[in-house]
């Protein structure tokens, strides 16, 4: 069914365009009305569309809106078309709803910024792009959004452009994303090459048919490589190993941006994409294993880095990376709806956390250094409350949203059958360990999550005194209503959001899992796990969460405690290494960026300057110059030298002209081979009739001519086959000059 889906992204785009063209001269309120109005309108349309779509989506359909043909060339045809099913609908709601909240929040947060209109223009642009990303019916349209959000991220990270660090961070984000995009593009090209289409439903259909994508390619299948390359795109966008490095730096942007783009929406695009292309992934357990392993490792790795960060937003950034790792582990183990579920809950609690961070930093005069915070519980009560809820949610405390979603991912990892060769014929024996290993790593990561989040909470809010300077302390205040309002809404979401994905199987009411139920037509049936296992994991994860919180309390409850100091003193270099994020950035700089730059510079000088311009061009010029100089040297001014050259010229011509058979124009010998018999004719034009020449024919080049005489032609029979050189000497008796002609003949 068609529906004006185009309105959903169009409204924010329009808002952005209007603000860019006219916003500079407008009052702030007008700007806000346009910006928030655009996204609110979009949100309303999205809700309308979503609830129109749901009943149809249940039957496997959805809403569809073709704007027109975008690119058609040769066999390729890409429509500018949008499609809404349960999956994209859910994402749309998250984007527009949280987007709207963040617009509101920003009106307070950015209140004093001179570039207020520009900020909102970017935000609108971002929302539009993100909506195109999720609604896109084909990979190229999705790619518009994919790159568009990257662009907005770039612009917003570098929003305060006067600092080079911010601009650098933006550039780094864009370029790292582009590395991923290269993978996305190649994956797209592979899919096109083998399915002949870039339309997602068609690719899905082709993948479910199997054939085309199961062709062998580079030692695996097409599906494997396509899935892998697409996943490279996802690692860039969603900040997974090894391309996660941009996200911590991206915290340079305004905090609402971190909340919206770098926590709730954009960074989850990779997860969305994998879920969207699940049909392709299901064909290749190998690629899924890679997705799951990368996800799990990222979850753990980022959590560990999170232990030692002292910047509020940096901690949250690593937390985001880590949570995204969970999601990938979810989709990578075939538990697509769990991945999307975590995406959903994460959107709320992480956006809430970030906005709290913004609120706290707002209160602290812009500083995000948690070592100087502490005891803020009383001073910013609303913010504290929201943070508290979100903290519990991310730690996985029962009945908060994160509990359900994280649990279903971990449970799914242990229970997955994707890598079981006995059940999934596509999987090899060697993959059997993946599910369990991923599960274990994820459990460690969950423990780590509880620990570093609690550390953050305790260091910031607990205790009685604030470690900051008096001047800062004096200014600490709760944020205005425009900021607090959205926070509360997000807190509610973070607290209750988990109930849309209740483990229905456990409660004997699968339909209670609203999310999985709705997503089933898109992503297939949810994973079945035995009840005992499920309960076991629930208990286990509660223990992990509480354990992490408890451990953190031991270390940081009410401020820095003795164990924390002791630990830091015991392994100072390790702590420093973790604090320096394992120096991965430096490693990249050393291994990749600097060599590339040095090589490029080297090539520039060696190839362009020396080899081509110096040697080739300059060398030619040198030769030309040399000959010219010789000619000029000959022209010495002495007329008698000129005449001598003249005379030598005459002599040379006489010499050239009197060489018998001398010629520039053709091969003189005409050779006809017939078996072992060879006829050679040195006759040229009409000369022989007029001049008597002596010919001697030496057919085997042994110095002894076989035939001599005034006849220009001769005949010879070779004794055996082989390759011979015929040498003909022509003598002009009247001039006494002679010349020799040779030619190779092959007789068989």
């Amino acid at each position: 069914m068609t529906f004006n889906l185009r309105l959903i992204p169009l409204l924010p785009f329009l808002g952005a365009a209007i603000l860019m063209l006219f916003g500079r001269k407008w009052k702030r309120d007008t700007v806000l009305i346009v910006a928030a109005g655009a996204i609110a309108g979009s949100c309303l349309v999205a809700f309308d569309a979503f609830f129109t779509a749901l009943p149809r989506a249940a039957a496997g359909g959805g809403l569809h809106d073709v704007v027109g043909t975008w690119i058609a060339a040769g066999s390729l045809k890409v429509d500018l078309a949008f499609r809404m099913d349960a999956l994209s609908g859910l994402l749309c709601l998250i984007i527009t709803f949280i987007g709207f909240l963040i617009h509101l929040y920003s009106s307070g947060y950015m209140e004093h910024d001179p570039d207020y209109p520009r900020f909102f223009a970017y935000l609108n642009l971002f929302c539009g792009s993100m909506l195109v990303l999720v609604l896109g019916d084909s990979l190229p349209v999705m790619f518009i959004g994919w790159e568009g959000v990257g662009l907005c991220s770039y612009l917003l990270i570098g929003f305060w452009y006067t600092s080079n660090a911010n601009a650098d961070a933006g550039k780094k984000a864009f370029i790292t994303n582009r590395i991923g995009d290269l993978g996305f593009l190649i994956g797209m090209f592979l899919l096109y090459q083998y399915t002949g289409s870039l339309n997602i439903p068609e690719i899905t259909a082709a993948a479910q048919g199997g054939g085309a994508l199961m062709q062998p390619l580079w030692g695996a299948t097409v599906a494997f490589w396509a899935a892998l390359f697409l996943f490279v795109g996802a690692t860039g966008k969603s900040a997974q190993l090894p391309l996660y490095v941009w996200l911590p730096d991206a915290m340079a942007g305004p905090t609402p941006v971190s909340a919206l783009i770098h926590a709730a929406t954009m960074v989850t695009a990779g997860v969305y994409m994998v879920a969207r292309m699940h049909a392709v992934y299901l064909l290749t357990p190998g690629a899924m294993a890679i997705v799951a392993i990368v996800g799990a490792l990222t979850a753990l790795f980022a959590a560990i880095i999170g232990f030692a960060q002292n910047d509020f937003k940096k901690v949250l950034a690593y937390s985001t990376i880590s949570q995204l790792g969970f999601m990938f582990a979810g989709v990578g183990t075939g538990n697509f709806d769990a991945g999307v579920f975590h995406l959903f809950t994460h959107a709320f609690f992480k956006a809430g956390l970030f906005l709290c961070a913004g609120s706290v930093m707002h209160a602290m005069g812009g500083s995000g250094d948690i070592t100087i915070m502490g005891g803020l519980r009383k001073k910013v009560p609303w913010t504290h409350g929201v943070f508290f809820v979100c903290w519990l949610a991310i730690c996985g405390v029962p009945f908060f949203s994160g509990f359900f979603s994280k649990d279903s991912i971990i449970g799914g990892a242990f229970g997955t059958e994707i890598f079981d060769a006995a059940i999934n014929p596509l999987a090899g024996e060697h993959l059997a360990w993946v599910g369990k290993a991923v599960g274990v790593v994820l459990m460690l990561a969950a423990l780590g999550t509880a620990f570093y989040m609690s550390r953050l909470y305790f260091l910031v809010f607990s205790g009685s005194e604030t470690r900051a300077s008096d001047e800062i302390k004096h200014h600490i205040h709760e944020s205005p209503g425009a900021m607090v309002g959205p926070l509360v809404v997000l807190a509610i979401g973070a607290a209750l959001g988990g109930f849309i994905g209740l483990p229905g199987g456990l409660l004997d009411h699968p339909e209670w899992n609203l999310l999985a139920d709705r997503l089933r037509p898109v992503l297939g049936p949810e994973m079945e796990i035995s009840r005992a296992m499920e309960i076991g994991f629930m208990v286990g994860s509660v223990v992990l969460a509480l354990g992490g919180i408890g451990l953190a309390y031991l270390f940081y409850g009410g401020g820095y405690r003795e164990p924390a100091r002791k630990f830091a003193a015991a392994a100072p270099r390790f702590v420093q290494l973790v604090r320096d994020k394992f120096r991965i950035d430096e490693l990249y700089g050393f291994l990749i960026i600097r060599p590339v730059k040095a090589i490029a510079k080297g090539i520039f000088f060696v190839v362009d300057r020396i080899l081509i311009d110096g040697f080739l061009v300059g060398g030619l010029a040198w030769v030309v110059d040399l000959v010219g100089s010789i000619a000029r040297w000959l022209q010495g001014g002495d007329v008698q030298r000129y005449m001598a050259v003249f005379a030598i010229g005459v002599a040379a011509i006489a010499y050239l002209a009197t060489q018998p058979m001398h010629t520039f124009f053709s091969n003189a010998l005409k050779v006809t081979v017939n078996g072992l018999t060879v006829d050679v004719d040195a006759h040229r034009g009409s000369i022989a009739a007029n001049r008597v020449l002596d010919y001697s024919f030496d057919f085997d080049d042994d110095g002894k001519p076989e035939v001599t005489g005034v006849a220009s032609g001769a005949h010879h029979v070779y004794p055996q086959p082989g390759t011979y050189t015929v040498r003909v000497k022509v003598k002009d008796p009247s001039w006494g000059t002679s010349s020799t002609l040779t030619q190779k003949v092959e007789v068989r």
Partner: protein, 538 residues
């Protein structure tokens, strides 16, 4: 004279008119120049409206006898490929003339500059439209002279060197091409008894393999220098850097396309067998050029040089697209030519504007300009992103289609018995695609060093934002970049038939040539009856 004749010659008449106005009347020169360019653009719009997208062949032909004794005819015609390149030319020239920075900082002799630009326009349009190889060659050389003067008179410090280098490089190729044209002419005579330089007739001439190789080399060399294909590119950074803004815009925006247009129009169709044999080499060079140009751009501190090297990279895509020899890739190549005209033209206008304001092109001399020039910064950002190939802007469509075409190159050619003709398409496509990363690195790096960071250089505080005509110039370029990114279809539709016909006829002629590689010059496919007459006498 026909519509095409008018499009071609109007700028020349305008130039003559301008040269008659006394030296001092600079505003009249500018006005007349702009007027001429706009009228030409309007006439070219008439051409566009008269163009029938459903037809593959040449349309709106003008075909009059010119030098009858040699069978040379003033034969112009437009098809879906040249149509857009002409439109690009007639579009860019008025925009350039509108820009106050076009003439560069040596703001002298406006009359001659305007006239030179218009003569250049005639040369370019004529060369795009020419269907007679002699006419093509004349126009091809005709554009050389004004560009030489534009670089040499209004250029930067090393302008003599750059101008001479430009001319010599170009001549190296074009004169050998002239020999090959003459050879074709002689062989056509040998095969049919008629004398003709007409493209429609010569493109039926099938040469033996060895002769094809020589002729293809001559043609391809001329075009490869113009493109430029690595390693023939070193004239380009020098020429671009030294040329005044207007010269750089036209040089990069239009003139480089003659290389790729020539490959598509002449080198490949005329010598299918040799082209197929050389294709792997050229494709590899194109890929090298893509990466190489990008890497070179990455290490430049001179903004113009950076943009110049980026052209090497972008034009590599065009060459690669042409060599895929499937409609998708060639459509992409055609589109990339246009998009590059817009994006790189815009970049040169932007860099030129800054050069005009600050008399420096060194990136390290800038920084933090956004605060001073927000509108300009926004415009430049769009153009930079178009050049980076962001989807939704013009640069994406072409690169995307080229890469798609590259990936599917073998798929289309395999069934035709021509496997192995395009080596390792996925590898080549993959390597070429890395430029999406590097282009982001150098272009955003450039943008950052211009616009972001602290405004810590005192000279930069006085830089003024765009105003007046400049706003129009950048507004037009930005609009073009966005429209071409969102709605490429009107363009692709009109070139579709011609591209498909090109591929079909190329494949047909290639297979014929493969069957008879050593047959002496002959006509294939047979000349249509109407075209067979009309040849001249010796």
């Amino acid at each position: 004279m026909g519509l095409l004749g008018w499009v071609t010659l109007l700028p020349l008449f305008g130039a003559a008119l301008i040269l008659l106005v006394p030296q001092e009347e600079e505003s009249i020169h500018r006005g007349l120049g702009l007027l001429t360019a706009i009228v030409t653009f309007v006439v070219s719009l008439l051409m566009l409206s008269g163009f029938d997208a459903g037809q593959a062949g040449f349309q709106l032909e003008v075909n009059r006898s010119w030098i009858a004794p040699l069978g040379i005819r003033f034969h112009l015609g437009v098809d879906g490929i040249s149509l857009w390149l002409v439109m690009l030319t007639t579009f860019l020239i008025p925009v350039t003339l509108l820009s106050p920075q076009a003439i560069g900082i040596r703001n002298i002799r406006v009359r001659e500059f305007t006239a030179a630009m218009l003569i250049l326009e005639t040369g370019m349009i004529g060369a795009f439209l020419a269907l007679d190889l002699f006419v093509f060659y004349v126009f091809w050389e005709l554009m050389l002279i004004p560009m030489y003067f534009i670089i040499g008179i209004w250029g930067g410090e090393r302008r003599f060197y750059a101008a001479i280098k430009f001319v010599i490089y170009t001549l190296v190729g074009s004169l050998l091409m002239l020999v090959a044209i003459l050879y074709l002419y002689a062989q056509f005579h040998a095969a049919t008894g008629g004398y003709s330089f007409d493209y429609a007739q010569l493109s039926h001439l099938s040469l033996p393999a060895s002769a094809q190789m020589y002729c293809f080399f001559a043609f391809a060399l001329a075009f490869a220098i113009k493109v430029p294909i690595f390693p023939l590119h070193t004239w380009l950074p020098d020429a671009h850097v030294e040329a005044p803004t207007g010269g750089s815009v036209i040089l990069a925006g239009v003139m480089l396309k003659f290389g790729t247009y020539g490959l598509l129009r002449f080198a490949l169709p005329l010598f299918p067998l040799a082209a197929a044999q050389a294709a792997p080499l050229i494709a590899i060079l194109a890929v090298i050029g893509i990466v190489y140009g990008a890497l070179m751009a990455f290490v430049q501190d001179d903004a113009k040089k950076l943009v110049a090297y980026s052209s090497v990279s972008h034009l590599g895509f065009v060459v690669l697209g042409i060599l895929t020899l499937n409609p998708t890739g060639i459509q992409g190549a055609v589109y990339q030519m246009l998009a590059h005209g817009i994006s790189t033209g815009g970049l040169f206008l932007g860099v030129g504007l800054l050069y005009d304001r600050r008399h420096s092109r060194k990136l390290s001399d800038f920084g933090g300009l956004w605060a001073k020039t927000p509108v300009f910064a926004a415009c430049l950002l769009v153009i930079v992103l178009a050049s980076v190939g962001l989807p939704g802007l013009c640069g994406f469509v072409g690169e995307f289609l080229v890469l798609i075409g590259t990936f599917t190159a073998q798929k289309l050619w395999g069934p035709a018995g021509l496997t192995g003709y395009f080596p390792a398409p996925k590898l080549m496509g993959g390597i070429a695609a890395t430029s999406v990363i590097i282009s982001a690195m150098y272009l955003l790096g450039m943008y950052q060093r211009l616009m972001f960071g602290p405004l810590d250089k005192p000279e930069n505080r006085a830089v003024r934002d765009i105003h007046g005509a400049e706003t129009w110039v950048f507004g037009i370029m930005v609009t073009a970049a966005i429209v071409m990114g969102l709605a490429p279809q009107p363009i692709l539709n009109r070139s579709e038939k011609s591209v498909e016909a090109f591929v079909a006829s190329y494949r047909d002629r290639l297979q014929e040539a493969k069957r008879n590689p050593d047959v002496p010059p002959h006509i294939y496919p047979p000349l249509p009856a109407a075209a067979a007459e009309g040849g001249g006498t010796p």
